[in-house]
């Protein structure tokens, strides 16, 4: 997962959205630290992490914003998804209400977010099959209809966690090579970290 020396490193802002207790922080923890904590302290406000991922001969550095899930904190979210190159909308496969909430986040991203943001839908807690309440088919169909890519993940057992980030990284890099004018917008840039390969700026 470590960046190879000499590579171009591309920074990408990524935001996690989803209902309370869906497992947003746990997914990030698993991805960034390789750990799982059963009783993860609630996220207040938002938390920031970063992690690099090598894809072929290129490296993506994710700047990850992990947001608070509760509806009341909704007003803080736009700041984190605006200008994001990617978003992971997380729900809990054992909790249908969290799937409904995930759909609302997708709608909001479609309405308010950057059209080039890559949106992934993660059905988390996939290790708890006995308690499943959201059929994988249903989520898959929904994802297809809405142009998202979908994976069921488990932060607890690490299933598909690296994969979902890897898939995002791959798509980001593909978008980068795309010569269309908006392509550069998927990657978040600050003035001092401007990438040579892209021209436009976001947020």
């Amino acid at each position: 997962m470590a960046a190879n020396a000499g590579n171009k490193i591309r920074n990408a802002k990524l935001v996690l959205l989803g209902d309370v207790g869906a497992g947003k922080s746990s997914l990030v923890f698993r991805f960034v630290k390789g750990q799982f904590v059963e009783f993860q302290e609630s996220t207040i406000g938002a938390a920031f992490f970063s992690q690099t991922l090598a894809v072929n001969d290129e490296t993506v550095k994710f700047e990850i914003w992990d947001t608070a899930g509760q509806e009341r904190y909704h007003s803080l979210a736009p700041m984190y998804y605006r200008g994001a190159a990617a978003a992971i909308v997380v729900y809990d496969i054992t909790n249908p209400a969290s799937f409904t909430r995930a759909k609302k986040w997708v709608q909001e991203l479609q309405a308010q977010g950057n059209p080039n943001t890559i949106v992934a839908l993660a059905g988390n807690k996939a290790d708890m099959l006995d308690a499943r309440q959201v059929p994988a088919e249903e989520a898959k169909t929904y994802a297809q209809e809405n142009g998202l890519f979908f994976m069921e993940t488990s932060a607890k057992t690490a299933i598909n966690v690296n994969d979902i980030f890897y898939e995002i990284a791959k798509r980001l890099l593909q978008g980068q090579q795309d010569p269309s004018p908006q392509a550069g917008m998927v990657l978040n840039q600050r003035p001092n970290e401007r990438m040579v390969s892209s021209s436009s700026c976001c947020s």
Binding site: V20, V37, E41, S50, G69, Y73
Partner: protein, 380 residues
């Protein structure tokens, strides 16, 4: 940060037996951070501590009977002593006296019980989901359905009934949890009410109302203060596109009770309950001042990391608080609040701006009158 670490599954109903620090937080193996008490106190230090406690006992009187009288005659002595830290064995009682919660409790007999036992709340499921995620590394809150978790649930549920407009909001649990470590459930509930409804200081319920109006206001005020007191750092934040909501929203929403060393949290709360929210601004500024020369050199990502992981020296209350008190912010905070409100009114005349109006306690008269007969009785 250290509170977040390594907790394995706890079997329901079985209390874990692991090494805890003096506040009851389970020690993580890799952490060797001091818990605020120097190892092996000298006899001299212990004597000084005992003398301090005797002074405090005298000041308070039996069960708090002399407190109001003492405060009226010697407000500055009280302020000075509180800034040095309330002795831990008296903390729970003193917190209730300085916050005005003791009066609320006495004025509302039986109310808490009614809220807990007879009322139902729309937030019950939400609260339950968060219970095991509040101070998960504290021994008192670790046991599933144990007394700590039950009390925490009761308080949060009671509050969500008491003010149905606000209901339950993530973050409240950390306030309630902190209080529960120092007082009974009912006492902690009334202290929460005193803070959010404003018994002594301005009400803080705006931290948790729709749109988080008070969080927005505090962050805006804080950003301005940083610019005024540390222009170079303020400018650096602008250049790196860092705004205070990225690092300071938890400071305000939980009054430093979230991911800060507990001995610092307690000392901040001593002052916070007596002097009000301004100490959160002061401590925030002090953290930035302490790390100023490093922070101005850091690029975005490292900067964010540094703002969320302050070095151990920076979070020593005996170092940090004296720096904090050098920032004189009271009158500036008032001006900035007025500016902020003016800006809000200016930007939108629509209904949404009404929701964002901070500090005005709309629910106070409606909800408050039912149970509180005279909230301002103890105004200093």
């Amino acid at each position: 940060m250290d509170k977040k670490k390594a907790i394995d599954e706890t079997e329901p109903g079985v209390a874990p037996s692991r090494a805890v620090d003096r506040f009851g937080f389970i020690k993580s193996e890799q952490s060797n951070s001091p818990d605020g008490i120097p190892k092996g106190k000298s006899i001299h230090e212990r004597e000084r501590e005992e003398k301090r406690i005797r002074k405090w006992r005298k000041m308070i009187g039996v069960g708090g009977s002399d407190w109001k009288h003492y405060v009226r005659r010697n407000p500055h002595v009280v302020k000075r002593r509180i800034r040095k830290g309330i002795p831990d064995c008296l903390r729970g009682l003193v917190w209730q006296l300085i916050s005005g919660s003791r009066d609320l409790l006495l004025m509302n007999p039986g109310v808490y019980e009614t809220l807990v036992i007879y009322e139902t709340s729309a937030s019950e499921l939400e609260i339950i989901r968060d219970i095991s995620r509040t101070f998960p590394s504290h021994i008192f809150f670790q046991q599933r359905h144990g007394p700590g978790q039950r009390s925490l649930y009761n308080i949060l549920k009671a509050y969500s009934v008491y003010d149905r407009d606000v209901g339950y909001v993530q973050g409240m649990g950390f306030l309630a949890g902190l209080l529960l470590l120092y007082m009974s459930e009912e006492d902690a509930f009334w202290l929460l009410v005193a803070l959010l409804k404003g018994a002594v200081h301005a009400p803080m319920e705006g931290l948790y109302q729709a749109g988080l109006p008070l969080v927005q206001q505090y962050l805006s005020q804080f950003e301005k203060l940083v610019m005024e007191h540390m222009p170079k750092l303020g400018q650096h934040f602008v250049e790196e596109m860092i705004n205070p909501s990225m690092y300071a929203s938890q400071w305000f929403i939980t009054v430093f009770s979230y991911s800060f060393p507990f001995h610092l949290t307690l000392r901040v709360w001593d002052v916070f309950l007596y002097e009000g929210i301004k100490v959160v601004f002061q401590v925030g500024l002090a953290l930035l001042r302490f790390c100023h020369d490093d922070l101005v050199k850091l690029p975005f990502e490292k900067l964010l990391h540094a703002l969320r992981n302050f070095p151990e020296e920076a979070t020593d209350p005996d170092v940090l608080l004296p720096i904090a008190f050098t920032f004189k912010v009271s009158s500036r905070l008032e001006d900035l609040k007025k500016e902020y409100q003016k800006r809000l009114e200016g930007t939108s005349e629509t209904s949404s701006s009404k929701r964002h109006q901070p500090l005005i306690s709309k629910t106070m008269s409606r909800v408050g009158s039912r149970v509180i007969s005279n909230l301002t009785a103890d105004k200093k």
